[in-house]
């Protein structure tokens, strides 16, 4: 489908077209000093003219000198809160007179969300959670229903943030798939006034909206300008992570004493896992009402930084802070591969920004990987170099 060029007013048309189709619109909005995801009444509720400054343990919203609608990256929220809610009742049951119980059939309506402004890293993150919740022998039916109903309006990233490293993870700054519609925001010449948009269609149901959005086919020079901005963005990432050989290096680093460093700073608060768009660990709570006649089971987000997550009779498996940080980082970047056939990291940088101790995943992992590689090199050297006297080194292994 050809790229189209839209005026800023087309966003209102887009919101209207989605609302007419019964979608609940969710997108970025400014709330309590952060850009969060919430229900949007109209395009005027977007954080127009705002951006963020992000660094390890640091986040501030600041004014821009233009009227960009999408002039920021990602905040503390992730879309998972709408697809895999922080708390969800799985079922209710009622006790009957003879010691038995029955699960109650409750009316259940799947919310139909239209996500406005999903960043390429987050599109990839949704794809990763798709594999977790729908890719195995057992499917999370609630997730599956929410996911099938969701409409995705992507926004490619022309201005990466201070903790972004999607270019390293191969997930951005352009989304290649996984959206119904995708926008590239282009500032007006001279920076004053409203931006315009390049629009790509990613699905049939996305295409059905075109007639209601106005605009015209984009000219080649306009498309080239959008491409140029995206290429440039890839070179301006706030962070980088060398993923070459990383999975193997982490696999060999269970006993690396360097894990002690981040562990000494980590507060086990779980912020990183809550902010992470792919972290999926969850627990259940079983409760009864005061009469004891009704019981229910609620699923809640959990975190591998808690002691409870690994608790079995006798105590938690991962007691030390080191083992919990190592579990999180190793799972995210290495063992996720074996479990779900993909990395668990999309390079969005949320875990870095929202860590109150300013622990930087890219920095920690780079040091661990480097020391694993150094060890491997030393081992290699011992195997190949004959020791004095012409005998092969016997302690190579």
């Amino acid at each position: 489908m050809a790229v189209r060029r839209l005026e800023a007013a087309a966003l209102d048309a887009l919101f209207g077209a989605l609302r007419r189709r019964g979608y609940t619109l969710v997108g970025h909005t400014l709330h309590d000093g952060a850009i969060v995801y919430d229900e949007l009444g109209g395009a005027d509720e977007l954080p127009i003219g705002w951006t963020e400054v992000q660094d390890a343990g640091h986040y501030r919203v600041v004014r821009r000198d233009d009227a960009a609608r999408f002039g920021y990256t990602v905040g503390p929220h992730a879309w998972k809160r709408f697809l895999h809610p922080p708390a969800l009742r799985l079922w209710r049951a009622e006790r009957d007179a003879d010691g038995g119980f029955e699960l109650l059939d409750e009316p259940h309506e799947t919310p139909r969300y239209a996500f406005i402004g999903v960043r390429p890293c987050d599109i990839k993150a949704i794809g990763i959670q798709d594999r977790v919740f729908m890719g195995g022998a057992h499917v999370d039916l609630d997730y599956q229903a929410r996911r099938a109903a969701a409409f995705v309006v992507a926004v490619h990233c022309t201005e990466p943030g201070g903790t972004c490293f999607c270019a390293s993870m191969g997930t951005g700054p352009r989304a290649n798939a996984g959206f119904d519609l995708a926008l590239t925001e282009v500032p007006p010449p001279g920076g004053r006034g409203d931006p315009s948009y390049l629009l790509e269609v990613g699905s049939e149901r996305g295409g059905e909206l075109l007639a209601e959005l106005g605009g015209r086919p984009a000219r080649d020079d306009e498309i080239a300008e959008g491409d140029r901005r995206l290429t440039e963005a890839a070179g301006r990432m706030g962070r980088t992570l060398d993923t070459h050989g990383l999975v193997e290096a982490l696999r060999r680093s269970l006993d690396n004493s360097r894990w002690e460093e981040p562990a000494a700073r980590c507060l086990a608060c779980g912020n990183c896992t809550l902010a992470c768009p792919t972290c999926f660990c969850n627990t259940v709570e079983d409760t009864t009402d005061l009469t004891g006649a009704f019981a229910e089971r609620t699923r809640r987000w959990d975190s591998c930084f808690t002691l409870d997550l690994s608790y079995i009779h006798g105590g938690p498996v991962r007691t030390s802070m080191k083992s919990r940080y190592r579990q999180w980082a190793t799972h995210k970047l290495a063992t996720w591969q074996e479990q779900f056939g993909t990395s668990g990291c999309v390079g969005c940088g949320r875990c870095i920004t929202w860590c109150p101790a300013a622990i930087d995943l890219t920095e920690e992992v780079a040091v661990i990987a480097a020391s694993a590689q150094a060890r491997a090199t030393r081992r290699q050297a011992r195997v190949t170099q004959p020791v004095a006297g012409g005998k092969e080194a016997g302690d190579a292994a």
């Binding site: 799985l90 079922w91 049951a93 006790r95 003879d98 010691g99 038995g100 119980f101 029955e102 699960l103 977790v132 919740f133 195995g136 022998a137 057992h138 499917v139 999370d140 039916l141 269970l254 006993d255 999926f280 660990c281 969850n282 627990t283 259940v284 079983d286 409760t287 009864t288 004891g292 019981a295 089971r297 699923r299 959990d302 591998c304 997550l309 690994s310 608790y311 079995i312 009779h313 006798g314 498996v317 991962r318 007691t319 030390s320 080191k322 083992s323 579990q327 190793t330 799972h331 290495a334 063992t335 591969q337 074996e338 479990q339």
Partner: protein
């Protein structure tokens, strides 16, 4: 080395036979048809399904999620006979809120069941080989279905051995069956206790020296090991010393589980989800991870 066959399925079976469409997180209220204490803190439950449902067939080594109304849900291995799936039997120890509440249930009370889940002991692939079962304490119940399976098809196996250790004679699981098994001429049963009490005149000591002395032919042996993790590691170390390959050694591991269907993340062991890739693993797949600890 054993072929990694369909006997260790990835993923698992529907909650109930004939109802694969059911939400994997919904429990099915079974009824307690019998409950008896085995020893001080262990007990066995027999469960029957609600009218209109059959108990799903299970493989030796698989587990169910058992739910006590309003209290919680825990993974518990099936300890019954896989050839008699109509009676669902679980044996466990009282260790937490859920198992304590479970023991207080009465005949006729409901208990939620989801499963069976997980991989199984390689009883099919072990045909034609010697089978060495090694259990520690409450590790015997998860191995019992494998022993039932083997004894019911005794002619298909070579030597069959059960090496079993418990803390004290009073902690031995299924003492009557142990006595019965010892009366078989084609089954070798070696029992030991850490600490002798009362009139015990049998072996005293941990299970490892028994593994050391047992008449094991490493090339013919398939070993299945279940018990506390530290016992598993020592037993497997000894098996390796005897020449049994870690690929022919199978262990059943225990981790926290909330969903049992690969969706909650609790039971991770490095690259494995124990509910999905285990609980039964060839030892070579987990040896390194267990060595490191806290993985």
């Amino acid at each position: 080395m054993l072929p990694r066959s369909a006997e260790t399925p990835r993923g698992a079976h529907p909650a109930l036979a004939g109802a694969p469409h059911l939400d994997p997180l919904r429990t099915v209220p079974f009824r307690v048809s019998a409950l008896h204490g085995d020893n001080d803190d262990t007990f066995t439950l027999e469960l029957t399904p609600p009218p209109g449902h059959d108990v799903a067939p299970f493989e030796p080594g698989q587990f169910n999620m058992l739910y006590v109304f309003g209290v919680g849900e825990v993974p518990i291995s099936i300890s019954g006979d896989p050839d008699r799936p109509e009676v669902l039997v679980h044996t466990t120890r009282e260790v937490g809120a859920v198992t304590r509440a479970m023991r207080r249930l009465q005949t006729g009370d409901a208990i939620g069941v989801r499963g069976p889940y997980g991989t199984s002991w390689p009883v099919g692939a072990a045909e034609g080989r010697d089978v060495v079962l090694i259990a520690g304490g409450i590790g015997l119940p998860p191995l019992r279905p494998a022993l039932y399976h083997v004894l019911a098809r005794r002619e298909r196996y070579g030597r069959v051995m059960l090496l079993y250790g418990a803390r004290t004679p009073e902690d031995l699981m299924f003492p009557n069956e142990l006595a019965e098994w010892r009366s078989h001429f084609d089954l070798e049963v070696h029992v030991t206790v850490d600490r002798a009490t009362g009139s015990w005149r049998g072996n005293v000591g941990v299970v490892t020296p028994i593994v050391k002395r047992a008449p094991i032919d490493p090339r013919r042996t398939v070993a299945m090991v279940c018990g506390p993790e530290v016992m598993i590691r020592f037993a497997c170390e000894e098996l390796a010393r005897r020449g049994v390959s870690p690929q022919d050694t199978f262990v059943s591991l225990e981790r926290n589980m909330k969903c049992a269907v690969g969706l909650c993340g609790h039971c991770q062991l490095g690259p494995h989800l124990v509910c999905r890739d285990g609980p039964v693993f060839p030892f070579d797949q987990v040896e390194r991870l267990l060595d490191h600890g806290e993985v």
